[in-house]
């Protein structure tokens, strides 16, 4: 991105600082999204400076930046929207985790998703536990019902080492389903927002 150049050193420092704050706020997004936002805000600052009627450069810049608002505040919603979009597109657990953290205040449904993913996390943990304690962990069947994890003596472990691939398969399937559901919720919310 071509940086703007200012005659006054103080103006240059204020501008540089503002751009740094933008970069920090959008750092969690994909490179393409980051660049898009940086370029658009940079363009906005440049065009507003051209249109400014203030005499001194630094007055114009302060005026422009104040009208634009603090990057941390202005960009919050945009970053949360774009992150969720990226997360549900890529199925990357790191993106999903970050997107949920950014959107947690946007409705109870996102809290439910946090819980769903946590349950999946416990499933993954049980697979790990099976590797270290093969005799104590598994899929147990009792006279009435069944359980996953550490079993009781009254039950029979039925999967043996198959527990690991079966469990991973089931978890993967649930992960995909949950993420597809998250994608659907995101779309529904967007529709609702558009109608408001």
């Amino acid at each position: 991105m071509k940086q703007l150049e200012f005659k006054q050193e103080a103006a240059q420092r204020i501008y540089d600082d503002y751009i740094k704050r933008i970069n920090r706020t959008v750092a969690t997004l994909s490179n393409a999204d980051q660049q898009d936002i940086q370029l658009e805000f940079n363009s906005h600052i440049y065009e507003s400076m051209q249109g400014s009627s203030k005499e001194s450069e630094i007055d114009s810049l302060l005026d422009v930046l104040q009208k634009l608002g603090a990057p941390e505040e202005v960009l919050t919603q945009l970053v949360a929207d774009k992150k969720l979009e990226q997360a549900t597109k890529t199925f990357n657990p790191v993106h999903i985790f970050k997107a949920l953290a950014l959107n947690i205040s946007n409705g109870i449904s996102y809290t439910i998703f946090v819980i769903l993913y946590l349950i999946l996390g416990i499933g993954v943990f049980s697979v790990g536990a099976k590797i270290f304690f093969p005799d104590k962990v598994g899929f147990y069947v009792y006279e009435k019902g069944w359980s996953i994890g550490i079993g009781e003596n009254s039950g029979t472990e039925v999967l043996g080492n198959w527990f690991i691939p079966v469990m991973l398969g089931v978890l993967l399937l649930l992960y995909i389903l949950t993420t597809l559901m998250l994608r659907l919720i995101r779309k529904l919310k967007k529709k609702k927002k558009a109608l408001q």
């Binding site: 703007l4 658009e40 363009s43 906005h44 634009l68 608002g69 202005v74 919603q77 929207d81 558009a194």
Partner: protein, 111 residues
């Protein structure tokens, strides 16, 4: 007269109609962000909190009402131009109809 009530009402109304206004402005030609804000100000005397326009444009884009493209400039600072899509044009028509209907009913109430 309760000034603060009117003030609150006005700001709600402005917020609610901003996308309608933006789509209306985009009808004639393509605009870049800053130019769009200036145009909203000129036509409506609404002071757009400038930073909020960009999230709005992002949502309009996701809803396929507008598209955008980067255009290089001599200054070396490219502009991002927004254009109405066909869906945008049709949506705007429906919004306009609803708006006209609303206006007519309010006038009827007053009579």
């Amino acid at each position: 007269m309760d000034e603060s009530f009117i003030h609150r009402w006005q700001s709600q109304l402005k917020k609610g109609t901003l996308s309608f206004i933006v789509l209306n402005i985009l009808q004639d030609k393509e605009y870049y962000g800053y130019e769009l804000i200036e145009s909203v100000r000129e036509h409506t005397e609404i002071e757009v909190a400038e930073g909020t326009l960009y999230p709005l444009m992002n949502r309009l884009k996701k809803d396929d009402l507008v598209t955008s493209k980067w255009v290089e400039q001599e200054s070396g600072i490219p502009r991002k131009y927004y254009t109405l899509t066909e869906t945008g044009v049709n949506t705007l028509k429906q919004m306009q109809m609803y708006w006209d209907g609303l206006e007519a009913s309010i006038k009827r109430i007053k009579l």
